[in-house]
Structure formats: C-alpha cells, structure tokens
C-alpha cells in the first residue's frame, strides 16, 4: 500500500507491504541506516526515532502507521556540516565521550533529545531513569549521562 509522510523535514511517498516495520522501512527501503536494530524484543532502544516529535522504538511500529505523520531520524538532527553543524545533543555526546562503538548512539540521541525537550534541567537520577530503555554495552552509561545533562543545558541555552 502507498503511504506518504514527512521524513527529516522532506515529503516521501512509498509503496510498502502492510507487515513492514518502520525500522525496516527506514533501513532497507530508504537507506537511512543510522537507525539501528539491536534486538528482536523491543528491549534495547537502538532503533529509537521521533514520530511527531516523540521518541518511539521504530522496531515496534508498523511502517503504515506513519502515514500522514512526521518522522525524524538521527540523520535529520544536524543543521549543517561537520561538528559545528551538529545538534546540541550530538555535540554534547562528542564533547563528553558519550559513545564508544557508536551502535547504541543514534537511539540514545533520539531518546535524550525527546527527554531534554521536556526536562530543561534534569537531575542525574532523572536521566538515568529515562534511559532505562536504551542499552549500551560499551560506556557504562556514565559519560552518556554526562552528555545528556550537557546536551539538555545546551539545547535550552540555545533556545
């Protein structure tokens, strides 16, 4: 079936099987491989994207359900080239060593941005609780937490 939606600010139209997951649509059909798949039980959060500005696990929703809506992936965050063009949260992860292998990072970023929008001044404990749905095997979370705190501050300083 045909659906149309906004993807990273641009309109797209695709013809898809009704059983296709959003994560599969993004990765396999639209070549946006920044969204990762780390599990098959909706437990890891590597696949988090924004649907109408709210973070959701793209492995848990059918692609057809985004018809008429707006999807943002990690590829849609930066506003320009290079480090200078990064979203404040991407930059915070870079500046606070909030990533190692980078596999969990897109999901972490998308979760963190959603959280930070609604929590301008979060505590460490709030950040840790929010990220409970995103697994990282590399960092021990400490620098991710630091990154999210710094990113939240930067997002609200910028606005």
């Amino acid at each position: 079936m045909k659906i149309s939606f906004k993807l990273n600010g641009k309109p797209v139209e695709v013809d898809i099987e009704p059983s296709l997951l959003l994560s599969e649509l993004l990765r396999d059909k639209l070549d946006l491989t920044g969204t990762h798949v780390g599990c098959d039980t909706s437990q890891c959060g590597a696949c988090v994207i924004h649907l109408d500005d709210e973070s959701v696990k793209s492995c848990t929703i059918l692609a057809v359900s985004v018809d008429g809506r707006s999807v943002t992936t990690v590829e849609g965050l930066a506003s320009g080239e290079g480090v200078d063009g990064l979203h404040p949260m991407q930059r915070a992860f870079h500046e606070n060593h909030g990533l190692q292998c980078g596999f969990c990072t897109p999901g972490m970023l998308m979760s963190a941005i959603d959280f930070a929008k609604r929590h301008p001044k979060p505590t460490e404990q709030e950040v840790r609780q929010w990220l409970e749905g995103n697994i990282c095997r590399c960092t021990g979370y400490q620098n991710i937490v630091r990154s999210v705190l710094a990113g939240a501050a930067a997002m609200h300083a910028a606005s």
Partner: protein, 800 residues
Amino acid sequence: MSQIVGSQIVGIGASPLRKEDLRFVSGRGHYVADIKRPGMTAGVFLRSPHAHARLKSIDSAVAQAMPGVLAVFTGADLKAANVGGLPCGWGITGKDGKPMKEPPHPPLAQEKVRHVGDAVAFVVAETAEQARSAAEAIVVDYDMLPAVSGVLEALRPGAPAVFDEIPGNLCCDWELGDAAATEQAFAKAAHVAHVSLVNNRLIGNPMEPRAAVAEHEPTTGQYTLWTTSQFPHVVRLLMGNMVLGIPQHKLRVVAPDVGGGFGVKQFHYAEEAVVTWAAAKVGRPVKWVCERSEGFISDAHGRDHVTEAELALDEKGKFLAIRVKTLANMGGYLSTFGPNIPTNLYAPLLSGVYTIPAIYCEVKVVFTNTVPVDAYRGAGRPEATFVVERLVDIAAMEMGIDKADIRRRNMIPKEAYPYQTPVIVQYDSGDPAGCLAGAVEAADVAGFAARKQASLAKGKLRGLGFSTYIEACGLAPSRIAGRLGARGGLYESATVRVHPTGHVTVLIGTHNHGQGHETTFAQIVSEKLGVPFANVDIVFGDTDKVQFGMGTYGSRSLAVGGSALARASDKVITKGKKIAAHLLEADEQDVDFSAGVFSIAGTDRKKTFEEVALAAYVPHDYPLEILEPGLEEQAYYDPVNFTYPGGAHIAEVEIDPETGVVTLLNYTAVDDVGTVINPMIVEGQLHGGIAQGIGQALFENCVYDDDTGQLLSGSFMDYCMPRADTVPSMKISTHSTICTHTPLGSKGCGEVGTIGSPAAVTNAVVDALAHLGITHIDMPASPNRIWRLIQNAMLGRAAE
C-alpha cells in the same frame, strides 16, 4: 573537556575529542548490516531447537520450492564439497602429556546437533522474510538424546556423551604449578581458607548483532566477506586456508565499523564460512544478519566455572599457598580460543598481586550440550581474580584481620619487581600498595564505619568490598604463547605511509570497535613525527588495504599494535634523517629531529617534515645506492612479555534485608595501566569494563535447563543487562608504573575494569552480610539469592 585543535600536534597524554565520533553521532557509521550489494540475497540459518539429537533426515523439498528461494544447504552439502571443520587456534596438553581431545566442528551440523542453536541448514532467498518462511518449512527428523548442560553433570559416570567418541566428556585434564610444594605448604599452615564457587556463565551481547555479507566474482575467483569481526586477517587465514580452501590472495575480509566486540567477535564463526561458500554457490551476494535471540544461542558464551579453592596462611596471615580445582565448561564444540581461556589465561594469574610461594591448579575442561564457551572481556583473568580475592576476604574474616591489611601484608612490594610468580609469568612492574592507598583515600574508607551506622539506622546493611588485582594482557609474546599451545604467533603490524604533503595514513592490523584507535593512534603519530593531529588517519579492518595483523583482543591494541606503530614511526624518522642529510648536504649522524623539524645541530640549517616528505617522492638526484625514494615504513612487533595492568577497586553497597535488593552506592578504582595516551578514552574503557563486571556480579546470568538443555535466559527480558539506572557513577583514577618492555610504556586498559570489579562487588555484598555468618555468595548476587541467604542464616541462628 579540553578543546584541542586538530591543526596542532596532539601528543601522548592529551585528551583530544575522538576523530571517529562525527560519523557515529551523525548516523553515518558503516556497519555490516548496513551493506547493500547489487543483486544481494538474504540468508537465514535453521537452528536446532534441541540440545542433543541425532539428525536422521532433513527434508527441504517443500522449502526449496517456495517463492523466492534460491537454495537450501545442509551439512551434507558442505561435506560433499569438502568444506573443512572450524579450527581451534590453541591446543592444550593434559597432565598425562597427551593433547586435548579435539573433535570436529562442522559449520553446519552433521549426524548430530550438540546444543540448542547448532546450525542445521542455511536458506538463501530473495528476501529475508522468504528465507525465514522457507526455513520454517524444512522438516528435520531428530532422534532426541539425553542432554547435559552443567560441568558436574557432564562428568558423572554414565552422563550422555556430547561426542560419541569421547565418553565422559573430558576434553582435557590440565594442571599448572608445583603440587608437592603446595601440599607441603598446606601441611604447615596455621589457617586454611576455603571456598566453593561458581563463576556464572555470561553472554557478551555487544549491541551490534553479528552479521556477514559475502560475494564471489567467478571470472577472477575473488571472494569478499564483510563480517563483524575483531580480527579480519585471522578470519581470512582460518577460513580461507582451513575451512573453504580459498587462496589468501583471492579472499578479502573486511570488518568495517563494528558495534562492540568484548571477545564475542574474535572467533571464526561457522556463519562466516557458510555465507561465503553459499555466495559462490548461488552466484549472488548473500547477506545474513543475526537476530538478537539467535545471537543468544550462537554467539560464544563466557566464564562458566565450578571451583574449589583453598588458601593456606601462617599465624600472621601471610599467604603460604593456593590450591585450586576448576571444572570449566567448553560447550558443544571447541571455539577458536576456547581451551586456552580457563587454563593459560586463568591459572597463571592465581598469584594475584601477592607473594604466594606455592601454587597448584587443576582444570578439567569439559564438553556439554551448550553453546561453545570462549573469551569474553577479561577471559580467564576475572575468574582467577575472583578466586583469589574471595579467598583473601574469607581468610581475613575467619582470622579477624582487616581486609585492607591482609592485602597490604601480602602484596608484592614495588621494589620487588620484576617479580617471578610460581606460575610461569613474570610481572615487569607495578605498585599494588600504591593503588590500594589511592583507592582507600578516594573511597573514604575511613568514613565507612559511620556510613554503615547511618545505614543501619535506616534498617539497611552496608558493605565495603576490596579487589586488588593484576592481569596479563597485551596478547601475546609469541614465544611464551607458543610454549602454552598457541598455534600461531601473536605479534602486531603497522605501516606508516607518509604522503608527499606530509599527511600520514597509518595501516594497522588491530581493529577499532569502540576503543578510539582512530584518535589514540593518531596521537602517537602526531607526537612521534610532529605532524598535526588532523593530518593523520588510521586505516584498519580490510585485508586488501592492511598488511597481515592479528586484530584486537586481550587488551593488545596499544601494547602490541601501538608498539608496532611507534617502531614504524621511528623508522620513518630514521629515513627522514637520511633524506634531510642529503638535502642539507650534511652527515646523517648530525641530523636532529624534534617536533616535526630536521635540523643540523649547532646551525640554523633545517628542513620541515613536509619538505622532507615532498623530497622523498620527487627526487631527481638521490644517491640511489644508499637512499630509495618514498617515505613509508612498516614494523612488526612481537612483545617479549605480557603486560601486567592491575589496580585496586573498592565497592560500597547497601542491602535491603527485607527484599534482598542491592544498591551499589559507590565504586572507586585506581588502576595501573602504564603510560596513558588519552586519559579520556582510558576512563571510558574503565567505565565500560567495570559496568560489565558489575553486570556479572549483580545481574547477568546465562542459565540452561538441566534436563532439557534449553537456554532459559534467551532474551534481554530474561538476561539482565546493566542499565543506566542500575550502574552507579564511578570514581576512576590511574596510578601508573611504566611497562618496562613496550616502547611507549603502556600496559593496556580494555579489560581491567571487568577483571577487578566482580570480586570487589561480591566482597562488598558478603561484607554487608558477614554479621550473619555468611562468607560467600555466588554471582549474580540477585535479590532472590540474597534474601534466601539471609533467611537461612537467620533460621540457622534461631536453631542454635
């Protein structure tokens, strides 16, 4: 965080932000699962649902005829094509002088399946969905056999034989140390501390599942395999040479961005061989991406020991001897390094940071109907540390000695290095007492008694746990490894290619999958050659680009690969001096090199590194008999010894006796990793390593059903990974002594966290429960386990 500009020289000891970050935070990493090739097909493995069964027949007729299906392959097809078994890279020798039992490991099961997840067939179709449907339509007739998953059960008389030809399931009965001297020491001991423990089985679970894409060009015979590997060159050698019979120059193996490894991706896996072989058979590229639940039953697992250990002490609490008996689970086949882990990487670390005159260790390596067991971050060394550090605590408790004190009393003094242990290894440098002093201070051990009182007032139990540990890493000195059974040398290689503009490309045989090599190695070159940090790029992970290398595991990248890089850089300087001497019409001996400038001592004549680089490539008047054009140097570095990082970790926990829930309040680590190249990255490695150790101590447990051999912890719902809200913020610092035999003095930091932490956390939990007479708890110290221990202890008290 320091803001460092890439146009500067950024050397050793600085913390520039990572070069690799930009592509990852932008979603532009390039992982195997992201790869698309023209005409690409999808492959799916059909795996055994049974732990142990005879394969009577496989009927794939229906599957073959399903829409989109291109082929179905089974073990019989591989056998008919003369595909070899997966090799084991390390052979060990038993007490009786006989080699270990080494049964075949076919990439697709033949005759029997030996664990849940053993691959039975491989389906190739146009889409993954079609391949999955077809796999479900394959009819396998299994003749079920009784299965055995635990080591104790596997060794019982009459236990089911995993291999018909190996009744009793014993792969090897191995030993290390001096049994007689140990016996004597125990005979005169004033006190003997004893522990029976289980080192829990773990699943490494890097966040990127394994994957492979392969293609074949029939006109040239060229194969390419993209795989999630920590050591692509070794995969090329093992798979090309021993499994598929592909000449090395016709096989390119690429490991692009890899989403974490932790050992899980340092083996040559069956799937790599099957996918590569199938690509040639179907004449189109084939892609296989492991699902997470599939990874749980096909990634090699880690740990899984059952151990009895004793420590003999004199009346003053001095250690006299250690005696250890371990049963180690190998699973249903020997994985690439499997038998090496619970033997050579375990027993030689039983001296810990202590002077222990006599040590004897016996290890029975055992087959079971479980996934093969191999290296997982730390690999053997966390198990050894756990044994030693638990024994030390038990001895302290029983003898009424302070737990920090008993350690200090027995530590190898700083001046006593190099220190020869009774179990092969010679530690080159270290300062365990210095690390402990630092950790005691940083963890405010002095204030612990007051904190414990405060907890008690809230009805909570507070405990403090120490772990002072050492590990052997930087795998490996080939000479020692060879004596211990390694079937290949374990050096590392680096090429420093200076371009005519003075920019530098490094080709290195290690593999970066989160460790930050693109940054750290660029710092080494920037410092050595005096070139701007931004002008250095690191290339790895492609056998067509990089000379042979051994890859990344065993905390070896900096200690071995970084050493090769330092040597290759030195060779560049040596040749640069020759070129500069020619340009400046001076004697080579008179040329100095510092911070990117070649100069003649005592004169103002000089040439910059860029000028020399350009001259190297556009010469027209070289003295060709002594100077070749070009500026590119290579070094292969084989260390003379392991490196020995170590440190002191202190964990502080609070337990709710009503629920058994443990809260890890504080974690302090002071580690000796030798020269630190990038402090920010080292700290990150420690955070991650410690979190994994905390996972083992408190949460993670791979459990098989004893009767059926079914994996009970087969998803993230049942296998409890550390999460952001269950791991504390840690206090990390370093107290380094310099490695005396690596060119940069670095020891390695990848595994220290995972090695030191399980013992620290467990000791803290036991400390909190000590007043109940509890001296040991097995990992993970789950609420259920703790609650039961408390209840039993209280019942016992009431009965007394």
